[in-house]
């Protein structure tokens, strides 16, 4: 490495470290505001619950106790720990997600790339897309066996955002990049793999993030209707059934946290991948 280059390298690292310091301080402030807002929210909830004094609106500490207890005691209906319910829900989401991903990405690439495939696929997609996944529950319960009945609902929730974002991502690719690839010897056959797919990854990740959020909504709704094998959605509905509202809220909070972690994780990965790929 010659002198000029190493100097440039140095310049780069200096530049980055400067940003880091400023960023860390900003981050601390942002985090502080967020934590404060959560505390205020919990206090307001507690106050309101005390004023209402109704079992169906338990106070935060009761919900917290129920939440902790749920991890160490089996529930009386399915004899499962909360950990097992979480696992059951996650497995369903995972199945739905994997199947949605495997189908939506290639289909999205093709629909974005080829007018004919788009013309063929679009009316069907646009007809099915507005149907809320939850509307498919009665069908799914009869048509599929556990865990694919619930996974199917999740699949529907994730499939469309991933598909639409993939199509959008392909259409958004600068045509000049395609031309450049052609002059570099890329043929029709490896264009998808070498150019279209990598170019689409950041938009695709956005689709995944949105899809996972919808996935958690779907899984709870699906599990609340006649499901075997437990699941957090089941836990919520069973506890509501017998009037144990503190446990019900505990289940709801579990869903909230899981959704937050999954979507937060996905958006972290999304940012990391975009940055790592040098896009955005």
């Amino acid at each position: 490495m010659n002198k000029k280059a190493s100097k440039a390298q140095k310049n780069r690292t200096f530049f980055l470290s400067f940003f880091k310091v400023k960023k860390n301080r900003d981050r601390l402030i942002h985090l502080g505001i967020s934590i404060l807002a959560v505390i205020i929210f919990i206090l307001a909830w507690d106050l309101y619950a005390q004023l209402q004094n109704k079992p169906y609106l338990p106070r935060p500490h009761m919900v917290f106790d129920a939440l902790i207890a749920s991890f160490f005691n089996r529930d009386p209906f399915s004899q499962r720990y909360m950990g097992e319910h979480i696992l059951a829900s996650m497995v369903r989401i995972l199945y739905g997600f994997i199947i949605a991903f495997i189908l939506a990405v290639p289909l999205g690439l093709l629909m974005g790339w080829s007018k004919h495939v788009h013309n063929a696929g679009n009316p069907i997609v646009e007809l099915i897309r507005p149907i809320p996944p939850i509307a498919w529950i009665p069908f799914a319960i009869v048509f599929f066996d556990e865990p694919f009945d619930t996974a199917f609902i999740v699949f529907l929730g994730i499939f469309f955002p991933v598909l639409i974002n993939t199509i959008f991502g392909v259409k958004r690719i600068d045509p000049i990049i395609i031309d450049a690839a052609k002059t570099l010897g890329v043929t029709k056959r490896n264009m998808l793999q070498k150019v279209i797919f990598p170019a689409v990854i950041p938009t695709l990740m956005t689709g995944i993030r949105i899809g996972l959020g919808i996935g958690w909504m779907c899984i709870v709704a699906a599990e609340m209707v006649g499901v075997t094998g437990g699941g957090v959605g089941f836990y919520i509905s069973a506890m509501a059934d017998v009037g144990r509202y503190d446990d019900m809220f505990a289940g709801m909070i579990v869903i909230g946290i899981l959704g937050f972690i999954t979507v937060g994780g996905a958006s972290y990965i999304e940012r990391r991948v975009s940055r790592w790929m040098g896009m955005r």
Binding site: I177, I201, G278, M279
Partner: protein
């Protein structure tokens, strides 16, 4: 056919047909480009320069006429005609070195070998130390160095350069022009260069082809026999500049007039 003609363009015509109108971009253009030549296509903005390059590259299909490369009809894009774009057109998800390796990777060359070749071109375009940077971390000049190295790594017969320095500042532009000449001399490549800067054309080329306003045909061909490195402030340079500027300005005026006429009608 001429023995050392690399590219031969015969009766080239290009008409863009869209739903509501048809634009005639090139009309009956004939041109022969010699092996190893640095030729510049010079013309007013919008006259069809890019279209000619894209036709040579095989990215567009002629409406009429034929383009030969080494006696063979051009029927689509291929790695033996490398292109450098004004907008750089780098792959943003690939690092500098992976951008440069791209063509070799497509050919299926083993990893170590293409690394070696890519490093050679990184050296040639002075990008040492930036191998693993992504395009969005680079300045415009550096991006275009990657663009040039990427096109060269495929070892094409001809390098088609469409206003490659058009978006760079004047200083960088001058540096890049000088370096390009160095690269050209080292690699003995044929270069077809497009610009609307008379100065740039004069500084770089063996031959300047002045194009008419749209639809483009050849207005005048001028051989530049000045020794390199050329002195932009020199007398000969100034004389040639004056001559070519006259030709170009005539076309610019025509172009503006025809625009006006269109607006009026």
């Amino acid at each position: 056919m001429d023995g050392n003609a690399l590219i031969k363009i015969e009766h080239l015509t290009k008409i863009f047909d869209s739903d509501d109108k048809s634009v005639s971009a090139i009309s009956n253009l004939n041109l022969t480009i010699e092996e190893g030549e640095f030729i510049t296509l010079l013309g007013p903005s919008g006259c069809g320069k890019t279209t000619i390059l894209r036709l040579i590259a095989g990215l567009e299909i002629p409406s009429e006429g034929i383009i030969y490369e080494r006696g063979e009809k051009v029927e689509g894009p291929g790695p033996n005609r490398g292109m450098v774009f004004q907008e750089f057109a780098l792959f943003p998800w690939r690092t500098v070195i992976k951008n440069i390796e791209f063509g070799l990777e497509i050919q299926g060359m083993p990893k170590e070998k293409r690394r070696e070749i890519a490093m050679h071109y990184i050296d040639l375009v002075n990008l040492e130390g930036f191998e693993n940077a992504h395009p969005n971390e680079l300045s415009g000049g550096m991006k275009q160095r990657v663009g040039i190295a990427r096109a060269l790594a495929n070892e094409p017969d001809v390098l088609l350069m469409d206003e490659p320095f058009g978006s760079l500042d004047a200083q960088t532009r001058n540096i890049m022009q000088r370096e390009l000449l160095g690269i050209w001399q080292k690699t003995n490549k044929t270069i077809v260069f497009v610009t609307h800067s008379v100065d740039e054309a004069l500084y770089l080329s063996d031959r300047v082809v002045v194009l008419t306003s749209r639809p483009a045909t050849i207005k005048k061909e001028i051989s530049i026999d000045l020794l390199r490195p050329r002195d932009r402030a020199g007398k000969e340079f100034a004389k040639l500049r004056h001559e070519i500027l006259g030709e170009v300005e005539e076309e610019v005026t025509k172009a503006i007039a025809s625009e006006r006429k269109k607006e009026e009608s």
